[in-house]
């Protein structure tokens, strides 16, 4: 682990940590505000207890990532709101369950006495059940705090900044120091919150104003810092540019590159990275982000639902008019390189089997295993390729894209889905199989601007030089710097920018 690997991630720590902290505290506060009255209702109307706890349990069994992702289409937006809503839902169960259980398990004699001397059911709840159940309720709150801190790392892909940014981008770019930093920071936050709640409980139980004051002071200071970090750079009247990026190396490099250029042009920039593929497109259409790089074939197949591939020029022009007409999105231009979905295999294995194209591959598929990233097998391009060439693979396995390359190199799978601009193709001596039937559409990288951002001349000015500025080799070299040579995103972005500038100097047209 090198210092350099940590230095760049560490610069983001105040932003990631404070955002994570605010998300967690807000979710817990709202979660508790919902759970306690709900618990009170369930205790009074006992027959609701079963159904209410069952619903809360079902929500809890939804995997965190899925719950967060579901909130995006449900609310029609990305960012803090869907993340917060999912985390609130997540925090309800432990608080609710512990409150109900604790309150119902209070000594029956005490309840009978309370009723016998003339307390109302509400008074019994507030003055007897809740106070006596408070250690169990607080235990629920502490469980919720730890869970919420953990689950909040998953709010990154829906566009809310969190410590998960370290984990997602670190995993994609193989920067394990960043992953570790994210985990350690999240663990530290969880332990601190847990300790703080425990201390608050002790203070309340012992009626100790000094402890209570300490807890209040720590919490307020932390909240103050977090809010300042989050609000800090926003000065009145200054609008900022929000850039989006998907979850792979090339996207991180390109968003950093654009960010550097925009900042050099005097713009204030925010980057929402590690976003899901559809999340980022919808966010652009709704104006929640201003610009990002997508790939022609992805929009062609996934959003326009087209299954034919009529050639690069037609795809690009139809794409531009479709984006403009249906979403008001501006396709500023292609960047000059392609990052095609393709199938690749180890060159030596391909030679041994005599495979150069997808046509050669088809008859051998019953004895071969294919690996794909999370998206690949669900994409229309895969179905089109599979059906047109008649693939019948013996087995189909899904991997994290980082691990997928390892799997093909070590021979765990024979064929993988690959991105043609990936530096690892060359580094691992893989062969990209040609597509003689032209089933895969062209995947030219295209720079897209939101309906709002396309009106901002300064923005267009700063980004226009990127159009046709990056060729396949330049992009692949930049990706390889990160994925193979273990350089940072920042270094790769600067190197790529230098290439663009020197190419522009050589070719002054």
């Amino acid at each position: 682990m090198s210092w350099l690997e940590l230095q760049e991630p560490l610069a983001h720590l105040p932003d990631y940590l404070s955002s994570h902290f605010l998300l967690t505290v807000a979710a817990l506060t709202v979660g508790a505000t919902i759970s306690l009255p709900l618990a009170a209702l369930v205790i009074q109307v006992r027959r609701l207890a079963g159904p209410v706890l069952a619903v809360a349990s079902v929500i809890q069994t939804i995997p965190g990532l899925a719950l967060l992702a579901l909130m995006v289409p449900l609310l029609g937006r990305i960012g803090v709101v869907p993340a917060l809503l999912a985390l609130i839902l997540y925090s309800v169960l432990p608080i609710l369950r512990n409150t109900v259980t604790g309150a119902l398990e209070v000594d029956r004699d005490v309840i009978e006495a309370a009723r016998g001397i003339g307390m109302t059911e509400g008074q019994i709840l507030r003055q007897v059940r809740f106070p006596l159940a408070s250690p169990v309720i607080v235990a629920g709150l502490r469980t919720a705090a730890v869970w919420t801190v953990g689950t909040a790392t998953l709010s990154t892909p829906v566009g809310a900044t969190s410590l998960g940014n370290y984990i997602f981008s670190g995993l994609q770019t193989q920067n394990m120091s960043a992953v570790l930093l994210g985990c350690v920071a999240a663990a530290a936050l969880a332990i601190s919150l847990d300790g703080l709640i425990r201390l608050a409980e002790t203070a309340a139980r012992r009626r100790d104003p000094r402890r209570a004051l300490f807890v209040g002071a720590v919490l307020l200071t932390a909240l103050g810092f977090a809010v300042r970090v989050q609000m800090g750079p926003a000065r009145a009247g200054e609008s900022s540019v929000v850039l989006g990026a998907k979850t792979f190396t090339e996207q991180y490099i390109l968003s950093r590159l654009m960010s550097n250029r925009l900042e050099a042009a005097g713009q204030r920039v925010e980057v929402r990275d590690s976003l899901g593929s559809t999340v980022v497109f919808n966010a652009l259409a709704s104006g929640e982000i201003d610009a990002y790089v997508d790939y022609a074939g992805t929009i062609w197949a996934n959003h326009m639902k087209r299954t034919n591939a009529p050639g690069r020029t037609r795809v690009l022009s139809e794409l531009a008019s479709w984006l403009d007409q249906t979403h008001g999105i501006l396709l500023l231009g292609p960047l000059g390189f392609e990052n095609a979905y393709a199938l690749a295999m180890r060159a030596d294995r391909a030679d041994a089997l005599g495979i150069r194209s997808l046509e050669d591959l088809a008859p051998r598929t019953p004895e071969l295993e294919v690996g794909g990233d999370y998206e690949f097998f669900a994409r229309p391009e895969w179905r089109a390729v599979r059906d047109r060439y008649g693939f019948r693979f013996a087995r189909q396995r899904t991997f994290d894209s980082t691990l997928m390359y390892g799997a093909v190199v070590s021979g765990h799978v024979d064929v993988i889905s690959a991105f043609s601009s990936d530096g690892r193709i060359e580094a691992f001596d893989l062969r990209v199989l040609s597509d003689p039937l032209g089933v895969f559409p062209p995947y030219d990288a295209v720079l897209l601007l939101s309906p709002e951002a396309r009106k901002r001349e300064a923005l267009l000015e700063a980004l226009r030089p990127l159009v046709d500025g990056i060729d396949d080799d330049a992009m692949r070299r930049a990706n390889k710097m990160v994925d193979v040579d273990k350089r940072t995103i920042g270094q790769a972005a600067v190197a790529l920018d230098d290439e663009i500038r020197s190419a522009a100097d050589d070719d002054p047209t």
Binding site: D107, E112, A113, R115, G116, G118
Partner: protein, 258 residues
């Protein structure tokens, strides 16, 4: 003053706990419901402060049907003490005793004075017990606090369900004597449930012997001894009498046992 008229309680399971029971309790009287477990004595007690609702029959307190009264208000006017005591473990002795007065919105000074008055009444020194927690008290002290709490809102009726059941014999005797003294001072009407024959005979103005939800016999202890109405009642009293005779013989070895 308390009047039970043809009261029945049938549980949802079909078990009949109280069967067309009628009983009149005069003001200032101590009536003891005596019977073995399952005879319906606790249920009868709880019907009066509406901890249990009757299936049939009426219960009147000073002429007013309890069914027409708000149960919470009713319970605040009727003290309720039971074997489990059920002091609030998270509150001081003073807060336990003052629980209902503070819910009634009494002024702090009035509550304080009432708490001290009641603690003295049940034989606990206010200065040294006021701020203790229930777990710091012995069983007998806890039950004294329980009685004080039950009387806090100036109740004139006291319902007691095996109140001394869990106490050692010496403490039990002391508390029984104090109960009689307190009842004279405050003019309390008391309905007490027990399965202890001696306790019933020593405390009661009248004893109601219960079995299977019905009253076998109602009368003063002397009447019960003189003319037991059924063989069960006779057997119940016989045990107690034999014990008393043997104890008397042991205590006075010179006298003839006849």
């Amino acid at each position: 003053m308390i009047s039970l008229r043809e009261v029945s309680k049938v549980w949802p399971s079909g078990v009949c706990a109280v069967d067309r029971l009628s009983l009149e309790i005069d003001s200032g009287e101590i009536v003891v419901l005596l019977g073995s477990s399952g005879c319906g004595k606790t249920t009868t007690l709880k019907l009066i402060n509406r901890l249990v609702e009757p299936s049939a029959g009426r219960i009147l307190i000073e002429g007013r049907d309890v069914a027409d009264q708000d149960p919470v208000g009713l319970r605040r006017r009727i003290g309720y003490v039971f074997q489990g005591i059920g002091l609030f473990p998270h509150r001081s002795v003073a807060a336990n005793v003052g629980a209902i007065p503070s819910l009634l919105g009494w002024q702090a000074t009035r509550i304080e004075a009432r708490v001290d008055e009641l603690l003295e009444l049940v034989g606990l020194d206010p200065a040294s017990y006021r701020n203790r927690r229930p777990h710091e008290l012995s069983g007998g002290q806890q039950q004294r606090v329980g009685v004080a709490r039950a009387l806090a809102a100036e109740a004139s009726i006291l319902l007691m369900d095996e109140p001394f059941g869990a106490l050692d014999p010496l403490t039990r005797d002391a508390l029984q004597q104090e109960l009689l003294a307190m009842r004279r001072r405050l003019g309390l009407t008391i309905l007490l449930v027990t399965h202890d024959v001696s306790e019933a005979l020593l405390l009661a103005d009248r004893v109601a012997v219960l079995a299977a939800g019905r009253i076998l016999q109602l009368g003063t202890p002397a009447e019960l001894f003189a003319s037991p109405a059924t063989p069960e009642v006779a057997r119940l009293l016989e045990t107690s009498r034999r014990h008393a005779d043997r104890l008397h013989a042991m205590a006075h070895p010179g006298e003839s046992a006849s």
